[in-house]
């Protein structure tokens, strides 16, 4: 499988002084769902912004390494340009236009194929994956629930006819049952449309459920990667991200010791 997106050894520096991520390498193949896991401040969102071109807003830059999408360099590119190439971001917060209705939100994106019949097809496609949005068509987006907003955001991203969907914190602030529904729909989108997905998540359980491959980030570096089975069976992931105490209880001191050692040699 050739990689659709290849992030190679990137370093991101904020305000020309503060390093946020370093030596991050990851790749997403076609039709693949890839997850990036990690706690707050691990550099997940920064990585995603580096890919989607949203670093400039916060006075940050990719200072080292390359990001390649379908053989073209896109590091430090412009967000709208990257979106037009087929990488569409579903942001963490403020993902819909609250003053527009659901239908207007879906009409707002600029699809890559602009004819009206194509637009119609994309619209129908979105409603096919999210029938709930069809019922809410004329509702103002600001009045939607968190789960509905997430659906609308993914729906709007689909309107851009992407090849790679970047989803930042799919599960943020949502009920587990809603998260399960959304992850199932994401899998369906991948299966039916062949769109690759890069998922950034804090909730490892939800992410590992659907992803083919996953990376674990800590302190701005990737400390672990592997396919779903490898990560699921990895003792540290079980303990720290999935919350399963493996066998006998370990003392808190051991845990701390362990964390420290990982920071150094991970």
């Amino acid at each position: 499988m050739t990689a659709l997106l290849q992030v190679d050894n990137i370093e991101v520096v904020y305000k020309r002084a503060i390093t946020a991520v370093q030596g991050v390498t990851l790749s997403v193949a076609e039709r693949q769902i890839v997850a990036v896991l990690g706690t707050n401040g691990a550099g997940k969102t920064t990585t995603l912004r580096a890919i989607s071109g949203f670093l400039g807003i916060d006075d940050a830059r990719v200072t080292e390494g390359t990001i390649t999408f379908k053989g073209t360099r896109i590091d430090n590119g412009l967000p709208h340009d990257i979106a037009a190439r087929g990488i569409v971001l579903v942001p963490e917060r403020e993902k819909v236009f609250p003053n527009l209705t659901v239908a207007e939100n879906l009409a707002a994106p600029v699809p890559r194929a602009g004819s009206s019949s194509e637009r119609h097809r994309l619209n129908e496609r979105t409603y096919h994956f999210f029938p709930r949005l069809a019922d809410l068509r004329s509702r103002t987006a600001g009045l939607l629930s968190g789960g509905e907003r997430q659906m609308l955001a993914i729906g709007a991203a689909l309107m851009c006819n992407p090849q790679l969907l970047l989803v930042d914190e799919l599960s943020l602030g949502l009920a587990p049952v809603v998260v399960q529904d959304l992850t199932r729909r994401l899998t369906a989108i991948r299966n039916e449309l062949g769109i690759a997905v890069l998922l950034v998540e804090q909730s490892a359980a939800a992410a590992l459920e659907i992803s083919d491959y996953a990376y674990v980030m800590e302190n701005g570096r990737i400390v672990l990667d592997g396919d779903r089975e490898r990560l699921r069976s990895h003792q540290d992931v079980q303990e720290f991200y999935l919350g399963q105490a493996g066998g006998e209880r370990r003392s808190y001191r051991d845990v701390k010791q362990y964390r420290r050692s990982r920071r150094w040699y991970g």
């Binding site: 020309r16 002084a17 390093t19 991520v21 370093q22």
Partner: protein, 360 residues
């Protein structure tokens, strides 16, 4: 105070006294001492022209600091700053003219005028935000200028009010050097007031309501009260600057307080760097010196005599260009450049701060 933590190489305080000290490290004390000596020596070396320029910078600093308090920290946009300076200047002029009030009456009276005006024109801020607030503060400017103009014409001072220099212990304050130290002291006192306000409860309240009013209110900060407080304090400081301006110039007239002056003050805090007192000082110095700098540069050109008429137009245009350049290339202002320099030397020989827990 001017710089993000850490100031010392570690947190080494053993008492509350050390915690609230303004100067915490030896380097800070030493550099401040050098700066103080330079400020003290300056009037004895400088030409009268440079001395006047320094006085103008100090006056502008008082105004810029108070505007920074209101706009840079409390987040309330104000375009009425020139009006407030005018209010202070006119209070001083009228009192000195009508009842020949001495310095120690006109100064508090100007502050009081500022307080009243700040309260009245702070009230709209409780309901208005952003652009709408800016327009409502613009009204302040027009009201003050109208009243000042009416006074001038009705009392027959159509060209302006002449203010006698103030007397300190029987001595008339006319000497340029004496003025230098008076205005320097005024700027220093304003700076101290601002620094201490900002690191106390009210300063934290202002910064909180600047970022998110809802959160501030949820945390028990009375948004209405602190907004009004910001307006009142900032306005009274500005009016005091107006009072000093009236005495320094010895002349008050509405022509000196046009809308461009308000814009200049807003420019000072933007060019200096929003949300930084050091920025207010740097901005005040920059914007005050800038027109003279352009003039000096123009003099280097051949055939200056022909250009004499255009010099004002060139100044305005250069001012506009510099504003745009700053907004595009350095939104953090002069203080942003300063911080970057500091960072560069702090991190040297490395370029960037390493990641936490990195093995370097």
């Amino acid at each position: 105070m001017f710089r993000p933590a850490p100031r010392a190489s570690g947190y080494l305080h053993t008492g509350y006294g050390e915690d609230i000290a303004l100067l915490q490290t030896r380097t800070e004390r030493a550099s401040l001492a050098v700066f103080a000596i330079l400020l003290a020596v300056f009037p004895f070396l400088a030409s009268p022209f440079a001395l006047d320029l320094a006085c103008q910078v100090f006056l502008a600093s008082v105004g810029a600091l108070s505007l920074m308090l209101l706009t840079g920290y409390a987040g309330q946009i104000s375009l009425g700053h020139a009006g407030l300076i005018a209010a202070g200047a006119f209070t001083t002029g009228i009192l000195a003219r009508e009842i020949s009030a001495p310095f120690w009456i006109t100064l508090p009276a100007s502050a009081l005028t500022g307080i009243v005006l700040g309260f009245i024109f702070g009230l709209p801020s409780l309901r208005l935000r952003g652009l709408y607030l800016a327009v409502s503060t613009l009204a302040l400017h027009f009201v003050v200028i109208y009243l000042g103009g009416e006074y001038e014409t009705k009392r027959g001072f159509s060209t302006g009010i002449v203010v006698d220099p103030p007397r300190f212990a029987g001595i008339k304050l006319t000497d340029g050097r004496a003025w230098y130290f008076v205005l320097l002291a005024a700027a220093l006192v304003s700076l101290l007031i601002c620094v201490n306000l900002l690191r106390s409860r009210s300063g934290r309240a202002w910064q909180a309501l600047h970022v998110r009013e809802t959160v501030a209110e949820a945390l028990g900060i009375s948004v209405a009260r602190y907004k009004l407080l910001a307006f009142v304090i900032s306005s009274s400081m500005t009016s005091v600057a107006g009072c000093l301006f009236a005495y320094y110039r010895g002349f008050v007239s509405i022509e000196a307080f046009d809308l461009f002056l308000s814009i200049q003050y807003v420019a000072m805090i933007i060019v200096g760097g929003m949300g930084s007192l050091l920025g207010a000082l740097l901005g005040a110095a920059f914007i005050t010196v800038f027109p003279y700098l352009i003039e000096a540069l123009l003099r280097l050109l051949p055939n200056v005599q022909k250009l004499a008429g255009e010099i004002f137009a060139v100044n305005y245009a250069a001012f506009g260009v510099v504003m745009i350049l700053f907004l595009i290339f350095e939104p953090l202002g002069l203080v942003g450049i300063w911080h970057r320099l500091q960072n560069y030397f702090l991190l040297w020989p490395f370029r960037y701060k390493p990641l936490a827990g990195a093995r370097k």
